[in-house]
């Protein structure tokens, strides 16, 4: 569908709470929040720790290596907002458990779909969306 080729992909809304994450991605760093009081990871970005309610959250750079916890192969577009993904189908989205960080939902790229499997080691790569936002994605390592 020609329409879908022109359709834009949705982008995150950069807010005061999540801005360090997206600034980091643009600079090639995977930044995550960590609670200074109880030491837990906090993701998605929050104003306070979901465990101990502390507002002393640090942004720290994580290594960007991890393992696939689970994944799906997307084969159909659902909803107008996402039709910009139609030309990419089929593609893989996965939950990646970072070795030194939280679980992160992203795409697995640079790998044939049929080779993707649970527990597969992956590492972050940064992909410029062309619209001012850099998306952290993952490739096999």
């Amino acid at each position: 569908m020609a329409d879908d080729k022109l359709a834009k992909k949705p982008l995150p809304e950069i807010t005061p709470v999540n801005q360090p994450f997206w600034d980091g991605a643009k600079a090639g760093k995977l930044m995550m929040q960590k609670c200074q009081d109880c030491g837990t990871w906090v993701f998605c970005p929050r104003p306070v720790c979901g465990d101990c309610a502390s507002d002393r959250l640090d942004w720290v750079q994580v290594g960007g290596k991890g393992k696939i916890f689970c994944f799906t192969v997307v084969r159909e577009v659902v909803g107008q907002a996402l039709r910009g993904f139609a030309p990419d189908i089929p593609y893989v989205t996965a939950w990646v458990d970072l070795d030194d960080g939280p679980r992160f939902c992203s795409n697995v790229i640079g790998c044939p779909i049929e080779k993707v499997h649970i527990d597969m080691p992956v590492e972050v790569v940064f992909e410029d969306s062309g619209d001012g936002v850099t998306l952290p994605k993952f490739k096999p390592c």
Binding site: K9, P10, L11, P12, E13, T15, N18, T40, W41, V42, F43, C44, G50, D51, F69, C70, F71, T72, V73, V74, R75, E76, V77, V78, G79, A81, L82, F85, D88, Y91, T93, A94, W95, D97, P102, R103, F104, C105, S106, N107, I118, S129, V133, L135, K137
Partner: protein
Amino acid sequence: MSIRGKTAVVGIGETPTDRLGSKPDEARKSTAEYLAWAARLAMEDAGLTKKDFDGQGLAAIYTTNHSQPFWPEEVAAILGITPGVSLAGGNGGASSVSLLGHAAAAISAGLCDLVLVIAAASPFGERGGHRGAPADTRDYEMPFGVMGPNCKISFVMSRYMHESGMTEEHFGKIAVTGRYHASLNPNAYLRKPITIEDYKKSRLISDPIRLLDCVLPANGGKAYIMASAERAKDLRKKPAYLLGWGECNNASYGPRYRANPLITGITQAGKRAFDMSGVAHKDIRCLNLYDDYIPIVMIQIEDLGFSGRNDKAFFEKTDFTFKGDLPIQTSGGMINCGQPSTTGGMLHVLETVRQIRGEGGDRQVPNIKFGISTGVGAVNYGKNFGCTAAAILGSEA
């Protein structure tokens, strides 16, 4: 103070569902028409009229295409009711079961003695208002092409298969059972029986989710009426008493940043409902479980304690049909009856009421005194459901 046995469902209303054009003669109807229709059916069922609801409770459920902040007031205006207590269902698919408890609390506290709980949606029939997404979804799922619940539950199912070893045979059996019940339910939309082979051959939507794992979006309206146990005695139909109820929201099993997605809040909501009711598992003869996807039905059976975790043998040996060991999805579920947005979850309350009344027709569970209904809504980032609720209904207070 417990709400156990203090209230009952005394009226139910369910419009036919349609998909506007999938079958001949499906007329275009608006959400407002479905609301009015469902309300009238529920009131007729209870032997009540619109006048009976002035000064009483009205609980309206927000739907995905009607999420404007004054929705309960708009519903009151559509129905021409002047409620004395206005409740709202904001828990997505969990709302219909959540509101059983909220309505019972309002009635038990003496705020009112009737509550009309209602939802309708016409996603094929009208565009509706604003449709928003939670910030986590907007910022960290949609930019990566996560296609809503299809993808999110695919993540869960992918991991469930990995950890439990469940295969297409196990999922297919649940799908076949649901469709079998739908074939016996005149209100169901998809009524042609299927086989496990049909399930296996249905197309992949978002691996490992197949078409026959997925709920069926539809138009329609549903409503139920709750009354105090005292008022219930004088009404037209046999009351279905609310004996146990529990809700659990934003549950996390394990650290919030890396939770186990194979356990849902239904574990806690269900335990509260069982504790309140005092009913034993073996006496629950009908499980009407929220079924946006087949694997979610199975995980809830585990969550509620009807089976152990990852117990393949249990799913292989159990007869889940209405005349079997553990009847589930006796209506055919939303997968076969249709899901008019968050209205869909009402089905599971209505079906338990029908079974307890003995109105199950060709799919009536024999000798049933107690049934359980669940609702779930929202799939949280990297986890499973956000909103969950469970309710046990019974034929005696």
